[in-house]
Symmetry: C2
Subunit: 194 residues, 2 copies
DNA sequence: CTAGTTCTTGACAGGCGTGTCCACAACGAC
DNA sequence: GTCGTTGTGGACACGCCTGTCAAGAACTAG
């Protein structure tokens, strides 16, 4: 063994993640990253490989954390529909700054489209998991009579995911938290059984 | 008068627009643009100023055209709800390639967020117009009894806009046209009076 | 046909960004 | 304390990208 790193690898990665998240991949320079991470150029390359690998690692980490947070929130909710409501409300919550970041995964989709296989592979599992969780939630909601028995869970889940994505893009573009909140309530109310 | 330009200004701009649209601002080089436009470097700078101005001009043109197309489609529809349906279906239509482009305005929001005032100003009117058109559509739908009288048009319109944005991002990320189509139908069916 | 203006083409300057090299410093093991 | 190993900081090479320059070609007006 020899000299240990003077910074925490994961902590620095999270700092870099925020820069990528806000600015996107192409607009971010390695200088931006090293500065934000509080480390030197060489340490950056030694630790993360290069800009792209660092981005991919940050993106994977983001996706994992983000999904984890959402799944946790679902578990804590008292009922399936309430879980859904919290999930939608979350897109309207947080500080102005936090909302202006949007979602790193969505920003990545917009920046790269489906052209980049590695990035697609980093995002697909998370997207799948979220959507499947919502399907599951809707099944339970149906069993409890919280939504109409005729509801197609797959379709509904896909639509909800899209609405949430759109809310996040809207948040990044500056849509007001009141409006976002109203959208969240409206979307869930629409699902509620009548 | 002297030597006229050997290319059509608007046509070349549209070619450049497609490059920006697909790759985003930061990832596009002036060489990419000139090549795609079929013009020389100097002609590019003479005609459009610089990269950023060209982007702004393309974005404004995109927004205007896109809004125009959607408004036209609304006018042609036989009923308000049908107009809405067509609008949502449109996000699922087109070739694989076309869908993989997503929407340039949404890509711009994701790339720049609300930080860039000029870009925000280029997008805001179009976003407003679309959303207001949907509000109007919903009012008419309500008058005709196509949707429930209790519907809040503002909230509903905002939610629909978000869903549509999310569909477009999904399309860019590779979501299947069948799934997109199903989301479109589901969203409009949810609105229909019961 | 001539003159004046504008477009076009290729080259180029300057700056920025990425990734590497190297010398030195710091640390752990013995 | 010494040695071997590993992190750090500064400098640097190289390429790419943006925006400009200059010279020549093309066109219109008169």
């Amino acid at each position: 063994m020899a000299r240990p790193k003077q910074f925490d690898r994961d902590e620095a990665l999270r700092a870099g993640m925020r820069v990528f998240w806000q600015q996107g991949f192409a607009a971010t320079t390695t200088d931006d990253l090293a500065k934000a991470m509080g480390i030197g150029r060489q340490s950056f390359y030694d630790t993360y490989g290069d800009k792209r690998r660092c981005y991919l690692e940050a993106l994977r980490d983001y996706a994992r954390t983000d999904v984890g947070t959402q799944i946790d929130a679902i578990r804590r909710a008292p009922s399936p529909l309430q879980a859904l409501r919290e999930m939608m409300r979350a897109a309207a919550a947080g500080s102005q700054e936090r909302r202006s970041f949007g979602c790193m995964a969505i920003n990545a989709m917009a920046e790269f489209g489906a052209t980049d296989a590695e990035i697609g592979a980093a995002l697909a599992p998370a997207a799948m998991l979220i959507e499947q969780s919502i399907v599951q939630l809707l099944r339970e909601a149906k069993a409890k009579g919280e939504v109409a028995p005729s509801l197609d869970e797959q379709q509904a889940a896909a639509a909800i995911v899209c609405t949430r994505m759109g809310m996040t893009v809207g948040a990044r573009a500056g849509r007001s938290p009141e409006s976002l909140r109203a959208i969240a309530e409206f979307t869930v109310d629409q699902l509620a059984a009548r």
